[in-house]
Symmetry: C2
Subunit: 257 residues, 2 copies
């Protein structure tokens, strides 16, 4: 049997958000390759070898996956969320382009997943319902000056903004800088959503304003969405039989005032 | 039994890309509400009423769904792709905010779907693997001047760009204008992907450059992705046993040169 490589998205956490095509690929795979916590989301079974590796090992992991597929294995490379958004697909293609030219014959597919951005937006309402941008706030692979430039241009374009990797122990100051830049160019009432670990037992959704946001509201499991100038908040009442009011909804209208 | 409203994403077309939580919601619903072709994607069954409506009827449709849910129906509002990206979620929240205040007690959830943008990106490789933006090119609900401003700022930010609604019979000139603006600010070799009807029998993926792109390459079923200045193309060889070389892969590296 000839090998293949499928780069698949596991979605944000809940099994109910994994697409059937991804589940099928995981059942057909002989090898699963990825960052340890994501590999651990794939149940062990006979005939499946799980290759977990450390964070920041993306290129080594990609080369390993390509070589296994080239040798005839059926390899699933797993990412959280969508594999094409700040995840393993680009790393695999970097390794493919730089690596053994025979790898270019491998049957490679990318199977999309529910991205953290879409899951966070759905939980909050529809903050990405109009034009938006998506920025990785980590300066591991690009200079901070470029991030700041993109923040300023995005605010000028009046995009809603989704931020990946806002803050980690190794990068404690980037998100603080981000808030500082946004405060220079956006109004204090601008809505901000902190969506942590969506669809997992640790899920927490917070809605606040730019004036009230603090760096500590984000960590490495948080997806941050900043609304555009048009983004609105709807207060809600309790649903029948409930004790408390439902959480507010945040959405961006389809029209521009 | 008390009613609810779930605003769900059916993904780009294939049943294998519908999440289990969306499938479950469709099985529990008493009413499905949406644009006719999307409602038709939900199989008829006893106990399910399907309410199909015309395009550009979004607010009437949203009000109908809210009223049904308020009266105790279990209502699924269906969108193609993800309901939060240029789809029904924002329309429902516009109707909620402007409508009967008692609607604010309705149990409302948004269930994300695989967006056209993520599906198109996956088919082409990983063009959205670095910072990107997403713009609706329709000027039905915003002035063309704002679209052009966003295009210029996005090019200056060097975002990859995903375009929804590039062209329709009613809007034949917008995408031609878009290409003209991009040619003023991007190099001729800039990669462009035309992803039509992804995951349906009509799927067609085209990869070209800004210099060679023509307005006719897009229609109302096309999602267009324009790479950043960093986006690259990898030629591939045929896979074992195949007659033709595999389609090229297009991806944006994680690092900035």
């Amino acid at each position: 049997m000839s090998g293949w490589l499928k780069i698949v998205g596991l979605g944000p956490g809940a099994a109910s958000m994994i697409t059937p095509e991804v589940s099928a690929a995981l059942l057909e795979a002989s090898d699963v390759v990825g960052y340890v916590p994501y590999v651990n989301r794939v149940a062990p079974r006979e005939g499946l070898i799980r290759h977990g590796s450390d964070n920041r090992e993306e290129i080594n992991r990609a080369e390993q996956a390509l070589q296994l597929a080239f040798e005839g294995h059926r390899v699933a490379v797993v990412s959280s969320g969508d594999p094409g958004v700040f995840a393993m697909a680009s790393a695999v293609f970097e390794a493919l382009e730089a690596g053994d030219s025979r790898w270019r014959s491998i049957d490679i597919q990318v199977l999309p997943g529910i991205s953290a951005m879409l899951a966070a937006s759905a939980r909050a309402g529809a903050p990405l319902g109009h034009d938006f941008c998506c920025i990785n706030l980590s300066d591991n692979l690009k200079p901070w000056s470029l991030i700041e430039k993109r923040l300023r241009l995005s605010a000028e374009a009046d995009f809603a903004m989704a931020f990946y990797n806002p803050r980690s122990k190794a990068r404690p100051v980037g998100f603080e800088r981000t808030l500082k830049v946004l405060r220079e160019v956006c109004e204090p009432e601008r809505l901000i959503i902190f969506a942590r670990a969506v669809s997992t037992p640790d899920e927490a959704i917070g809605v606040t304003t730019l004036a009230k946001a603090t760096p500590e509201m984000a960590d490495m499991r948080t997806l941050v969405i900043v609304g555009s100038s048009q983004t609105r908040r709807i207060e809600r009442m309790k649903s029948p039989g409930a004790d408390e009011d439902q959480a507010p909804l945040v959405y961006t209208p389809r029209s521009v005032c």
